[in-house]
């Protein structure tokens, strides 16, 4: 660029007349990059969210030669976030090799954060507002914010307002020893007081998901992820960080026997019926992921690959507070709505990426879709919604093996699925289709449809 300022040449106008609704153009996934995910307190124990997000961005920039590029926008977020990180994504951009003239914003939608950044930015590209974007997410369970008690917080704020020494002494005298204990961040739902695992345990029991079936999902996750690493699938999706070259949680040598030996950690009130263990639940994880999105024109002008198109997305939420549905069951409703909009059924999908918050979450989702009564009463269908071919599910592993740094999971899945679809190419003369489903705290879920390019 010859001018010192910022070119005023914005995205090409996709539509004809400015006053009427413009025709939508396509948003494509160019590629992705993430750092290996680490178990909390391990390899990235001393890394902040900003460190990890910057590292993931720099790896993406290096992969696609984006040094000094002014991108349309970068959006990312974290679920566990320090108040000082009010501008986390913008700060990460400023610390990266991108042009400092690249705008950025933070987004937060619990575990759906990463996927929602992909959806939001893709929509901006489709509308012609931007040509290029990086979507992403990061989370650190190791470097989580620790909050002071309400009592201490009030004292500190009042002290700040006090004008005289007697006033200050009077305020300080209110402090009690218990006020000095810090509060660790909880994963409990504010409205129920139950942790996510305890919520899922209720759903697991409701759908009668067996321990063995859950362990099998976990085993497949580890085996598939290990095989994908061995075949070089992640060579252009992952950049090592702080000595970690593969996901720290991956146990390539795990077995049904080893998984069966673990004691239940959730739903223990169920006694002998408790089925959820540390092996079939995701661990607390640190990590970051990014996805490069673009219009066709932008990618073509830079001779960049185009892996998949972001076709559409849908969000849903359930009333878990009153027990109408399980906390993590929103995707059960989002997927049928999304596919119906495109006249598709589960049978039309070539690859499913259902985020494994817990093995039982995936199995409960599938069970609900296979249940005739649920189909009739809750989805308004004539019978069961459908059954998916398990050979198409999480074929390169998912969160049980890779780990689940909350906001980073969406980016991990989208980048991996886009590459998988691109390698698949076409199916019966049509593009290969992939479905992403991510459940989230607050009874929410975001799902998205991708097509191979």
């Amino acid at each position: 660029m010859s001018i010192d300022g910022q070119s005023i040449n914005g995205p090409a106008t996709p539509g004809a007349a400015a006053s009427s609704a413009p025709a939508l153009r396509r948003a494509v996934v160019v590629g992705g990059n993430r750092i290996p995910f680490a178990r909390s307190g391990a390899a990235y124990a001393k890394s902040s969210n900003q460190d990890m997000l910057t590292a993931a961005l720099d790896g993406l920039i290096a992969r696609f030669g984006l040094q000094d590029e002014r991108l349309g926008e970068v959006a990312a977020g974290a679920v566990l976030k320090h108040s000082r990180d009010f501008n986390l994504t913008r700060e990460a951009v400023l610390g990266s090799a991108l042009s400092p003239e690249t705008p950025a914003y933070d987004l937060q939608q619990a575990c759906a954060t990463g996927l929602e950044t992909v959806v939001g930015l893709s929509n901006k590209i489709k509308l012609g507002q931007i040509d290029s974007a990086i979507a992403g997410g990061v989370d650190s369970a190791s470097d989580a914010p620790v909050v002071v008690s309400e009592g201490l917080r009030e004292v500190i704020l009042d002290l700040n307002r006090a004008k005289t020494l007697p006033q200050r002494l009077q305020i300080l005298s209110r402090l009690r020893p218990k006020d000095l204990a810090p509060l660790a961040p909880g994963t409990a739902e504010p409205r129920t007081g139950l942790s996510m695992g305890e919520h899922q345990a209720l759903t697991t029991a409701q759908w009668k998901i067996s321990r063995e079936a859950q362990d099998e999902v976990a085993l497949n996750s580890h085996r598939n992820l290990a095989a994908a690493y061995d075949s070089g699938f992640f060579d252009d999706l992952v950049t090592p960080y702080r000595g970690l070259t593969r996901d720290g949680n991956l146990r390539a040598d795990t077995s049904m026997e080893k998984l069966a030996s673990l004691k239940p950690v959730f739903g223990r009130s169920l006694g002998a019926d408790a089925t959820m263990t540390a092996g079939n639940s995701t661990p607390l994880t640190d990590g970051a992921s990014t996805v490069l999105l673009a219009s066709d024109e932008w990618a073509d002008a830079r001779d960049l690959p185009k892996l998949a198109a972001v076709v559409d997305a849908e969000a849903a939420a359930v009333d878990f507070v009153h027990g109408k549905d399980g906390l993590l069951m929103a995707p059960v409703f989002a997927v049928p709505r999304l596919l119906a909009r495109h006249n598709l059924t589960l049978a039309d999908i070539d690859y499913f990426e259902i985020h494994e918050a817990f093995a039982a979450t995936v199995l409960s989702t599938l069970a609900a879709w296979e249940d005739e009564e649920f189909g009739r009463t809750r989805l308004g269908l004539d019978g069961a919604y459908g059954k998916i071919d398990r050979a198409r599910l999480n074929v390169n592993g998912s969160s049980l093996a890779a780990g689940h740094p909350f906001a980073a999971t969406g980016g991990r899945i989208v980048a991996s699925l886009a590459k998988l679809l691109h390698e698949k190419g076409s199916v019966d003369g049509r593009p290969a289709r992939g479905l992403v489903s991510v459940c989230a705290a607050g009874g929410q879920g975001v799902v998205a449809l991708l097509e191979s390019l």
């Binding site: 720099d58 030669g65 950049t239 001779d303």
Partner: protein, 446 residues
């Protein structure tokens, strides 16, 4: 990676003490930086042949201060001895003694460059003796030079003219700070191919180059040097080195390709990446290499095969893929990193030396294949280079290895990188199948 001894004897008290005790006094070498003058003073061109006249005229056109006769007590930047027409050993005396009178006037990091013809079986015995005599003469003179000065020779093979592009490019290279650690070496120019750059400070402008093993050490420096010279870079290293690779790629505004070069399809993947992103591939730098040192008596399959696979087999396979591609070129360049270990041998490095000897054999045998595609393949053989790898050599051994060369110091990764950049340039099109040592005239391996 710092040579503390060299720092000590180049300043204040240390300098005086070293001088009085007769300890080695490695000079601070003149290394190339953009904008730097080519030489540090006047250049004397000795010799009375047509080639000498041509070269003198050429050097004048480079805005150098050129003399055909030395002026006593004037600090000189370089002496160029043109000996292309020596027909009998006695013909050497006049120009050589003329040079002798000026040696004490050479400034720090000055240059002596001979231009002659290689001896061959079709020469008369007397001419062959004279030509081969230049070899022994130059190598000895290089050992006599002090204060960072170097002596190197250009051989005009097969009737190549003195003013051909690669002769001029080699002369510029040897005169410049780019060849700081190249000493006592001959470089053969075997054809008039090659073209001089429009901008001598960006000789690789518009070129797409791949560097393997680019995440750190010499590879990372090769990337920086090629970038400085104008090339667009694709940087390759193992997926496990991806974080360092990304940092180098972002520094040189290239792209990172995480790839195990021992994969069957490595050449294909490199081509795909280069062609998709840049539409072509001009320069392939085979730098990736490992050491797994062990005495042969203790050698095992893992140590032997990993070294052979990475250091030579991968290069063979990748070259095959590149030479079969229409996208490699139009004037393709392959530059491989060999090692003086592959020439002189090194105790504990039978595997490494076999692989590096292999690189040199491959380069010679591939030269005709690349020439058919309009390009060249050459190797550089580094001696003791200050890297993380040599930092791990035990202190005493390291000190000996460092000083056992005419420049009495280890080279820097930049010295290897500069030589690679030169061989990768369009101007070096007349240099093919050669191995150029970057070793400060290491005492081992001759």
């Amino acid at each position: 990676m710092t040579d503390k001894y060299a720092q000590l004897v180049n300043q204040g008290l240390g300098k005086n003490v070293a001088k009085k005790l007769g300890l080695p006094q490695p000079a601070v070498l003149r290394r190339y930086e953009p904008g730097q003058p080519l030489v540090t003073g006047p250049v004397v061109v000795l010799g009375e042949t047509a080639a000498a006249d041509k070269l003198a005229a050429e050097l004048l056109s480079w805005d150098l201060d050129v003399r055909r006769h030395a002026v006593p007590r004037e600090k000189l930047g370089a002496i160029i001895l043109v000996l292309d027409e020596v027909a009998h050993p006695r013909d050497l005396e006049k120009p050589v003694l003329a040079a002798a009178g000026s040696l004490r006037d050479l400034g720090p990091c000055a240059r002596v460059v001979t231009v002659s013809r290689p001896s061959g079986e079709t020469d008369t015995p007397a001419a062959a003796a004279a030509r081969q005599g230049v070899d022994g003469f130059l190598r000895s003179l290089a050992k006599e030079l002090r204060a960072g000065a170097t002596g190197n020779g250009i051989l005009l093979d097969g009737g190549v003219e003195a003013a051909s592009p690669s002769v001029l490019a080699a002369l510029r290279f040897f005169l410049s700070g780019r060849s700081a650690y190249v000493d006592g070496q001959f470089l053969t120019v075997s054809s008039a191919a090659g073209s001089l750059p429009d901008d001598v400070e960006r000789p690789l402008a518009g070129k797409v180059a791949v560097v393997t093993g680019a995440a750190r050490g010499i590879g990372a420096q090769i990337a920086r040097t090629l970038h400085r010279d104008g090339a667009t870079l694709v940087l390759v290293d193992l997926p496990a080195a991806g974080d360092h690779l990304a940092a180098v790629a972002n520094a040189v505004k290239g792209t990172a390709l995480q790839l195990d070069i021992t994969r069957e399809d490595a050449g294909q993947r490199i081509l795909e990446h280069a062609v998709q992103r840049h539409g072509r591939l001009d320069i392939m730098v085979h730098n990736a290499g490992i050491t797994r040192d062990k005495l042969l008596a203790n050698m095992d399959h893992g140590r032997w095969s990993s070294v052979i696979n990475i250091n030579i087999s991968a290069q063979l396979r990748i070259n095959e893929a590149l030479l079969a591609s229409e996208h490699f070129g139009p004037a393709p360049r392959i530059v491989s990193v060999a090692s003086t270990s592959g020439i002189a041998g090194n105790r504990g490095q039978t595997n490494y030396a076999a692989s590096k000897g292999g690189v040199m054999g491959m380069v010679r045998a591939t030269s005709s294949l690349v020439a058919a595609a309009g390009g060249t393949i050459n190797a550089v053989a580094p001696g003791f280079i200050e890297t993380e790898m040599t930092e791990r050599i035990p202190f005493a051994l390291r000190e000996v290895a460092r000083r056992a060369n005419s420049l009495q110091q280890g080279g820097k990764p930049a010295d290897v990188a500069e030589t690679i950049a030169f061989l990768a340039s369009d101007a070096a099109g007349g240099i093919n199948g050669e191995v150029l040592r970057v070793c400060g005239q290491n005492m081992v391996g001759a």
